[in-house]
């Protein structure tokens, strides 16, 4: 019944860990050092930048919610059941990761586009997906979903199902077990997965431009804006990237702070 932080890690682990941290942080520093701070403020507060940022935050949040709604059940099914073809399904779920995002966008066009697989169904429903903000959310969800599923499945397997069994013997129905035992126990893993998904959605570019297009205020998210700026004004692009980075740090920090991931 005793747990303690007394055991500790081997010291040498710090060396590769620091190397890894430097490997990620140095490029960010290099990026920051190239920003022309004089014009930074005016640049990032321009209408188009602000609108792109807000759009990015809205769509990424929506995509993360969708990822959680679809991804948690998928991870549960992969971790807690076994059926023929499960291995194949697990690999398929990973594919949006592998697919270059632009090709992912093409695939989405072929599916939800006007002449796509579901095009007619969608037309009948009177929905207009292409070139809309909905399309951005779909593209972001498509590329982010695997993150949540894969990382949550790993956590579920590591957590095991002993407590779920106990809950069942206490008369809890499967839904109750899920809500009151399984999910609270894997919360750190779920939070990690959601953060991954959110981050991936925030940075999404290729699938969005291919599937949703790029129109200010409707589909032009911050990464798209950064791309455009880069054509005419590389400095602005770098500055905007930093904004993206800072926003991401803030949002992630906020989520972590309120949900208490750091157990």
């Amino acid at each position: 019944m005793v747990s303690a932080r007394a055991s500790g890690l081997p010291r040498w682990v710090l060396v590769p860990a620091a190397a890894g941290a430097l490997f990620i942080v140095l490029p960010l520093v290099a990026l920051a050092s190239r920003v022309q701070w004089g014009s930074f403020w005016s640049l990032i507060t321009s209408d188009s930048s602000r609108e792109a940022l807000l759009l990015s935050l809205r769509t990424s949040a929506a995509a993360t919610v969708l990822c959680v709604l679809l991804g948690v059940p998928m991870a549960l099914v992969l971790a807690r059941t076994s059926f023929r073809g499960q291995g194949l399904l697990r690999s398929l779920v990973l594919l949006p990761l592998v697919l270059p995002p632009v090709v992912g966008g093409i695939a989405l066009l072929y599916t939800f586009g006007r002449k796509g697989l579901l095009g007619e169904t969608i037309d009948v429903l009177g929905l207009q997906i292409a070139f809309s903000t909905t399309a951005v959310v779909i593209a972001q969800t498509f590329v982010s979903l695997p993150f949540l599923v894969v990382s949550l499945e790993g956590t579920l397997r590591t957590a095991g199902q002993r407590y779920e069994t106990v809950a069942a013997t206490l008369g809890a129905r499967p839904t109750t077990v899920l809500r009151r035992v399984t999910l609270p126990l894997v919360l750190p893993g779920l939070a990690a997965g959601a953060v991954l998904s959110f981050a991936r959605a925030l940075g999404e570019f290729g699938a969005t431009i291919t599937f949703a297009g790029s129109l200010e205020g409707v589909t032009r998210t911050l990464p798209l804006e950064i791309y455009l700026q880069r054509e005419s004004n590389p400095d602005a692009a770098v500055a905007l990237s930093l904004v993206l980075v800072v926003v991401a740090v803030l949002v992630i920090g906020l989520v972590r702070g309120t949900r208490g991931v750091s157990a």
Partner: protein, 348 residues
């Protein structure tokens, strides 16, 4: 809530058949690994047997042949497993309230129930603690409260007294007596007192099979299995009838008094005698005792005013002065003598 169970779990080499009459408590005894927890798991529905069926109060819990399987939460059984496994993300109170809430109680009512149960197991002051902040015995008490609070139709308790300190065991036994009154229950235990004080019936398992069962008093007074005798604190020799005694597989003849004088020779039988009836000598005794065995002292266990001398096969109870006089210690070679009139022989 009568339970009728037959089940086979091939992987663990367990094959049992067991009944619990309505309102009765059955004590399940047996050595480590004999399949006690397996039986409870099968009844609770967290382990699927390879064959068999079970009914509780007439409704089927499972029937392998018919492909019926009622999931654990619909069985009305409640299991206190061997490992407390309190939910780490809930405090003690919410752990205990889990059962009532799952049964549909509102949060406030469930917490009220939980508080009552925590009080009954003398753990009221632990209500706000997380499981990681509980000692082993405290966790066990909370786990007991959690199992009882779920108020199942059939209660399955796997070593409920484990990890409890001896000063609270009598009180806990009292609580269980009250709870078990009029309720069907199976209780796994290693303590003969639990069997005597809580159970009407005893089932003894060895190596995955039921080797003996019957009313508690009968089994403990006239055990037919080695483990039954061991837990009753009696000596038991198993063999076949041979004249006025039992001949063991090792060739030894234990003379005694037949239960039923008409039994022919060569029938499987056991000879049972109490450690108090065994005399201990440094020299081979002459005179009346018909049974004399050479043995080496393995252990001396003080028991109140007496000391239990354990040898490899037979135990003897003698008084402390005798121990001093004979200078008994582990390793001492002794002769053990039992009068035939103190040995009861009956069919196994």
């Amino acid at each position: 809530m009568t339970l009728r169970l037959t089940a086979t779990v091939a992987e663990r080499d367990v094959d049992v058949s067991l009944d619990v009459e309505d309102g009765r408590t059955v004590a399940l005894l047996g050595p480590n690994g004999s399949g006690k927890s397996t039986v409870l798991s099968v009844v609770a529905g967290i382990l699927r047997p390879d064959a068999g069926r079970a009914t509780l109060a007439g409704t089927t819990l499972f029937d392998v042949a018919a492909g019926t399987w009622v999931p654990p939460h619909e069985r009305g059984t409640g299991l206190l497993a061997q490992d407390p496994l309190l939910f780490p993300h809930l405090d003690a109170l919410d752990n205990v309230a889990f059962g009532p809430r799952s049964a549909g109680a509102r949060r406030g009512a469930a917490r009220e129930t939980a508080r009552t149960w925590l009080g009954r197991v003398d753990a009221a002051e632990l209500a706000g603690r997380r499981p990681s902040e509980l000692s082993g015995g405290q966790a066990q008490r909370v786990a007991i409260a959690r199992a009882l609070a779920a108020d199942p139709r059939l209660l399955l308790l796997d070593e409920p007294m484990a990890a409890l300190d001896i000063t609270v065991v009598p009180a806990m036994r009292q609580v269980l007596r009250t709870v078990l009154r009029g309720r069907s229950a199976v209780i796994v235990t290693h303590d003969v007192l639990d069997a005597l004080l809580l159970a009407d019936h005893v089932v003894v398992m060895e190596a995955g099979r039921v080797v003996e069962q019957g009313p508690t008093k009968d089994v403990l007074a006239r055990p037919r299995s080695t483990f039954g005798a061991g837990i009753a604190g009696l000596n038991l020799a198993r063999g076949t009838t041979d004249g006025g005694g039992v001949r063991t597989a090792g060739g030894l003849l234990v003379a005694g008094i037949h239960d039923d004088e008409t039994v022919p020779d060569g029938v499987a039988a056991v000879a049972v005698f109490s450690p108090g009836a065994v005399g201990v000598h440094r020299e081979r005794p002459g005179g009346s005792p018909r049974n004399v065995f050479a043995a080496t002292v393995r252990e001396l266990e003080p028991r109140g005013s007496q000391v239990r001398i354990r040898t490899d096969e037979v135990a003897a109870d003698v008084t402390a002065p005798v121990v001093a006089e004979l200078d008994l210690a582990p390793g001492t070679e002794v002769f053990l003598a039992v009068k035939a009139s103190e040995v009861a022989i009956y069919r196994a």
